[in-house]
């Protein structure tokens, strides 16, 4: 597919990286000529330097032949305008990134006004991700499907867990739990398991089920956890704003520590007055101690600096905060974080990449059973996808055991008329079902999981 990406910032570059791996023909646009040169040197893409709102630049990037135009410059207005210009010049689909919270409320209007096919708001998406992470604090990554009615979590099996040294079917039968193990990660090797696969202590399991089922399974696995009822957020970014709103709605105590006075006032104006906002330097240990960091169930470090976030997280951890999540922009620091035993981390880049990738994948598939959602988890080794089933396909109404499913693919869940079915061999796909699939390799359509 021909893709044009405008803006080679943090997010632009990571989108380029992933799309390159999928073998698309990519042209990048940026005003910084040196940046363009260095990207061309590293990735297999073409580049044009210039303004992405100018028709000259866009034409040079062959916009008239492009299937998808992605505008991810740092400036919201530039993104909106360039999407409109690109569309006028013949781009088939446009993706636009925006960050300003004002636009969140009028997103639909902007979408119609500028003819944008997909709006990406990374901050909001990250906030939503964090929200689910706090709901399932034992999981290092949470994916949610069907408005949170189906959840996928990742948990590490501790030593001496009742689940250890059992096969999956043994464990499931013993506990009468309705779960699907989507993948087992053992020493960097990802396996899509079947009922006979053995669970060992130290494995990382991907579990898919409804929220209630997951909670009970976690208990049975002997993983201790405490519900998060109070959260301390360091850094008053846009993510903090969106997250506070979400948390406040379910009655969690939220306190935001932000050093900029102006930003504090802005937040105070916009947020409910029950959300506590503290104007202080979050990197100062004394401030955090005074704010009672040890009494919080969770601490999120969402400042703009990775290094500060890591330090604050370390401090929180030593003060016995149960759940600590660190925001990281630089992928290379992730390894350091693992060494420091800070397991909770979130990368805004990755969240955006996930969103963009599924849009591109579902546009590539010719069939109507498009991808509803795509998540890459387990160190990008596993993909969890949600498909819509089209009534015309030949596999509809056939029992799953009769279908020839590709190796490395697992059908995790079928959602029929709001009912969640954990499928067995006798189940089948019906028209208008939603199907959640785990796969090791990239899948574009539901057809693609069949041999």
């Amino acid at each position: 597919m021909k893709i044009v990406i405008a803006g080679c910032g943090k997010i632009g570059t990571s989108i380029i990286k992933y799309l390159c791996k999928e073998g698309h023909s990519i042209t990048v646009i940026d005003q910084n000529k040196e940046l363009i040169n260095s990207i061309i040197n590293v990735y297999d893409v073409g580049g044009v330097s210039g303004s992405c709102t100018s028709t000259v630049t866009l034409k040079e990037a062959n916009i008239n032949k492009c299937n998808i135009y992605i505008s991810v410059t740092g400036d919201d207005e530039t993104n909106f305008v360039s999407c409109k210009v690109a569309k006028e010049l013949g781009a088939k689909k446009t993706i636009c990134r925006f960050r300003d919270t004002d636009y969140t409320e009028q997103a639909e209007l902007m979408r119609d006004l500028f003819g944008i096919d997909m709006l990406v708001n990374p901050e909001f998406a990250v906030a939503k991700d964090l929200f689910y992470r706090l709901r399932f604090p034992y999981s290092s990554e949470v994916s949610y499907f069907e408005k949170g009615r189906v959840i996928s979590v990742e948990v590490k099996i501790p030593e001496g867990s009742p689940a250890a040294n059992k096969t999956i079917s043994e464990f499931v039968e013993n506990n009468d739990s309705k779960i699907i193990v989507g993948a087992i990660l053992r020493e960097d090797n990802l396996e899509i398991p079947n009922g006979e696969s053995l669970i060992l202590a130290g494995d990382v399991l991907n579990i898919i089920s409804t929220p209630e089922n997951i909670d009970s399974v976690i208990k049975n696995m002997g993983i201790p956890y405490k519900r998060v009822k109070s959260v301390l957020i360091v850094g008053g970014s846009r993510i903090s704003y969106h997250l506070s709103n979400l948390l406040f709605d379910i009655g969690v105590d939220v306190k935001i520590v932000e050093s900029s006075t102006i930003r504090c006032k802005e937040l105070a104006e916009r947020l409910n007055s029950n959300v506590e906002i503290v104007q202080a330097d979050g990197t100062n240990e004394q401030v955090l101690a005074e704010e009672g960091i040890e009494s919080y169930d969770a601490c999120l470090t969402l400042t703009g600096h990775d290094e500060e976030n890591i330090l604050i997280s370390l401090f929180a951890k030593t003060n016995g905060v149960g759940t600590v999540i660190t925001k990281l922009n630089n992928d290379k620091l992730v390894e350091i974080l693992d060494k420091l035993e800070l397991n909770g981390k979130i990368s805004p880049k990755k969240v955006t990449v996930n969103q963009v990738l599924y849009f591109i994948r579902s546009n590539r598939a010719k069939e109507e059973n498009t991808i509803e959602k795509l998540r890459m988890t387990m160190d990008d080794k596993l993909e969890i996808l949600e498909f819509n089933v089209n009534g015309n396909d030949d596999f509809v109404s056939k029992e799953i055991k009769q279908l020839k499913i590709r190796p490395g693919v697992l059908i995790a869940c079928i959602i029929r008329k709001g009912k969640i079915i954990i499928p067995s061999g006798e189940d089948y796909f019906d028209a208008d079902d939603k199907v959640i699939v785990c796969a090791k390799s990239s899948v574009n359509s539901l057809d693609g999981i069949l041999r």
Binding site: T13, C20, D44, G46
Partner: protein, 492 residues
């Protein structure tokens, strides 16, 4: 350094090279000649390729350094292996001679050590021209074209093997660029072949000559080069196609994709065209008395100018008895060469354009130090680092030429003009020089050491100097990964 990946890449190139030998083998079988030597050579090459590619490395990451080193080593190894055929078949029994002939073929130089070319079997002669064709665009580019997608580092390979200062891709993806390059290359070669057939040459001559023209190599299957045919039509066709093959392939790509307007802005192209025709006119006027008559002069001048500027090396007459001005001009345009991104050799017109333009600006800066440097090529401002890289390249180029001329002078068989012209001719991948290595002469009378030196010069010229020097720098071989570069990928 990712040694495993280097070996693997070389192995793939070697294997592919071995397979291409099947084509001259079929020709040898067709003529009922000895083909066992082909089979032995192919077996040896394939087994070495098999050893190299036995295990696919886990770590596929390569960077600029690995790409350059693998290209340099692969060309050396392929030259050594390719020379085996000459030795095994007994066509060229001596190692240095066979090595020289093979390198001359694969680097598209077209210098030969053979005295009696016509006495060789046709299969071997076909192979000789075929190496010209293979080396023209590059073997690795072919692998890029046929290999799978998603190798993000492929750009480094593309750069290491193609010619010219800025190696831009025609399309977004390396694979597509490689495919496009090969389609253009094959397409024009077939046109050349058909045109030569129409002039009345038999298919063997048409085939070998079109191969040699395509790679701008210049290895003809006759002792007297193209002069032996005495066929005016063939000479005109070759003149035109040598010119066509010296133009940047990106120009053809643009024409093919309907962007002819962009080619009009291409300064390199126009400079090349102007110099080409100006040289023909000058040489024609200069030799009109020597060769007798305007038409004869035009015939020889256009052919020799086209042959020199494309660094092809065909001859349709012996220009040793021409006036000195013409000979010097031919040497000079040999140094300049064709356009970047073509199969021609030399410095490349785009480098010359950049050097001339920036030198002019620098001179103006002497009179007014406050003047801001403003070098525009194709209407775009060129940054300082690009200009500096041109000066750097030129500096090394001249140094190598000077040192090699000095070293070649140690050979008792050469005089001054032979020494200089032989170095220029081989370094620029042109082929024949002046004196005993003239257009209808050969390099056979040189000492073994001289042949080895000139072989190295040809490799230096074909891979644009740096790869063949870098492999002799000890720090290249340190196992340590280039951490700064590696990190910078993700920090972008």
């Amino acid at each position: 350094m990712n040694y495993k990946m280097i070996f693997y890449t070389i192995g793939r190139m070697v294997k592919l090279f071995g397979l291409t030998l099947l084509i001259p083998m079929i020709v040898a079988i067709g003529y009922g000649e000895d083909f066992l030597s082909f089979i032995w050579t192919i077996l040896i090459i394939e087994s070495i390729g098999f050893i190299f590619t036995f295990r696919k490395p886990k770590d596929l990451e390569i960077y600029s350094k690995e790409a350059i080193v693998s290209i340099a080593l692969a060309w050396i190894i392929i030259s050594l292996l390719g020379a085996l055929l000459y030795i095994i078949s007994g066509a060229i029994p001596y190692f240095f001679d066979a090595f020289f002939e093979m390198i001359s073929g694969i680097t598209t130089t077209g210098a030969t050590i053979l005295v009696d070319i016509e006495s060789l079997p046709r299969g071997i002669l076909f192979y000789r021209s075929f190496t010209n064709f293979l080396g023209g665009i590059g073997i690795l580019i072919f692998i890029l074209a046929i290999s799978s997608n998603g190798n993000i580092n492929a750009i480094f390979f593309l750069r290491a093997e193609s010619t010219g200062p800025s190696r831009n891709k025609m399309t977004n993806k390396v694979k597509n660029t490689a495919i496009a390059t090969y389609i253009i290359y094959f397409g024009i070669t077939i046109l050349c072949f058909i045109s030569l057939l129409l002039t009345g040459l038999d298919w063997f001559d048409a085939c070998t000559l079109s191969f040699s023209t395509a790679g701008t190599g210049g290895l003809a299957p006759k002792n007297q080069s193209v002069a032996s045919y005495g066929n005016l039509g063939a000479e005109i066709v070759i003149t035109i196609f040598m010119f066509i093959f010296s133009i940047n392939f990106a120009v053809y790509f643009l024409i093919f994709t309907g962007k002819i307007l962009l080619t009009i802005k291409n300064e390199e192209l126009w400079t090349f065209v102007i110099i080409f025709f100006a040289s023909i006119i000058l040489v024609t006027i200069d030799i009109i008395d020597v060769v007798g008559g305007f038409w004869n002069a035009l015939r020889y001048a256009s052919f020799e100018v086209s042959s020199s500027i494309s660094c092809c090396g065909f001859g349709n007459t012996d220009y040793n008895n021409w006036p000195t001005f013409s000979k010097s001009l031919l040497l000079l345009i040999m140094v300049m060469g064709g356009c970047a991104g073509s199969t021609a050799g030399g410095l490349k017109v785009s480098r010359v354009v950049g050097l001339v333009k920036s030198s002019k600006q620098k001179l103006l800066q002497v009179t007014n130090p406050r003047k801001v440097l403003n070098v525009k090529i194709d209407g775009k401002v060129q940054d300082e680092s690009f200009i500096n890289s041109l000066y750097f390249y030129f500096c090394i180029y001249v140094t190598i030429l000077a040192i090699s001329t000095l070293l070649l002078s140690l050979d008792p068989a050469v005089d001054v003009q032979t020494a200089l012209s032989a170095c220029i001719a081989t370094f620029n991948n042109a082929g024949p020089g002046i004196g005993i290595v003239g257009p209808l002469g050969n390099y056979g009378s040189l000492a073994s050491g001289s042949k080895f030196l000139l072989s190295y010069l040809m490799l230096l010229g074909r891979l644009e100097i740096f790869p063949m020097i870098i492999i002799f720098i000890p720090s290249t071989w340190k196992k340590k990964k280039n951490i700064i570069q590696k990190n910078s990928y993700d920090l972008l």
